[in-house]
């Protein structure tokens, strides 16, 4: 299954993940 997020955020928002990275609930995805 998959979860897709689509959201509006300030342009200085940065993803803190990499393609293919394993991740768990609560772990950082991005921040401004």
């Amino acid at each position: 299954s998959t979860v897709v997020l689509v959201f509006e955020a300030p342009t200085d928002f940065q993803f803190t993940v990499r393609d293919g990275q394993k991740i768990k609930v609560g772990e950082p995805l991005g921040d401004v």
């Binding site: 509006e8 393609d19 609560g26 401004v32």
Partner: protein, 424 residues
Amino acid sequence: LVNAWSQTPTKWYPLPIAVGALLLVVIQYRKRVGQKEVYVDEDGHEVVKLKGPWAVHVMGALPLRNLSRVWGYMNSLELPVWFRPTGLKVYAWIFGCNIDEVEKDLKEYKSLGDFFYRKLKDGSRPVADVILVSPADGRVLHFGTIKGGRVEQIKGSTYSLDALLGIETRQSSRTEVFFESGDMAEADHKHFADINGIEYSLHELLGTQVHNTPANSGTSTPVVESAPAPLTGASELAGAVKHGERTDASVPQEGSASEVVAHDASVATQMGIRPTLERRRSLSTASVKPGNALYFCVIYLAPGDYHRFHSPTAWVVEKRRHFVGDLFSVSPWMAKRLENLFVLNERVALLGRWKYGFFGMVPVGATNVGSIKINFDKDLRTNVGSRRGHPLGTYTEAVYSAASPILDGQPLLKAQEMGGFCLG
């Protein structure tokens, strides 16, 4: 090297014509591959078709939804108590589940499906102090920005909103959900890519409904604006659920109206989200605010992963759109090969807002996990009945205004459990 480069004499040879012709053929072929194949119906709308190698078409011919339901039924069969610890340990070993963080004793899980939808022990998922956290265990397939219709990092093919949704958005005077129709033209180009350049239109994934489309047009699901439900019992809500009607599916909060309002006001302040009037304007006339951009992120949950999903941030879910669709596998292998996977599969688009503007979360089902559960939406049933009566792109919609009168939606805090995927 410098000497070789500068002193080697340059000799010119005539290319054989055949090689030149072959080169042109290759260039033409690559250009053609890069172009989007467009299938149109009798009205000229583009219809999204199953596109990809033969393996994809073979899968397309399989009764995936029925298979999924059979799989769900098999996994709901009760296991003998003596077998559960061993059997579930073998399952966990095969799929890489971490049994140490499972909430209950293995003996207590009646079936594999029960174990699949397991809860975790408190504290096993600490929450990071950032504005956006992962909603689920899994692997980040792809993420990026949606700017002017193109994803920054990856080329890809695009989907036409008109074709997929079968809605004449161009003549629509008003688009009810996100953008003014003027923005629609701009929104048409809001695309993002999932894997290696496969792009989707924002609206194809989340759906767009034209408010004034006549119900009998056959091209779209009629949507009826329902007044926010008073604080009533669930049965009254259940009665309101009909195909094609917008209904208020949220379960109203307990307590007197003033208590609810006070609670919501504090939640609103905590989440940094302004009260309803502001929201109403923001949703129906919203376009991306200056200084903001649209982002997307796709997370794939492998069979062994913990399959409950949580709120990635503090936001208010205002409505959900349940798209009845196929149940192709969403594994990275399939996502690379099946171009329009996420707009073909069964999915629930949860739409709302957070403090920076629009926020949407779309759990997408797959062959083995066709059932999507939303904790605060008791009426949602996915993967039931055939898909025949639901043309691609149409959806049933429900609003959650009863959950919080002030916020006009279901408020969620960061990392709060929202629901999950079940087998079958």
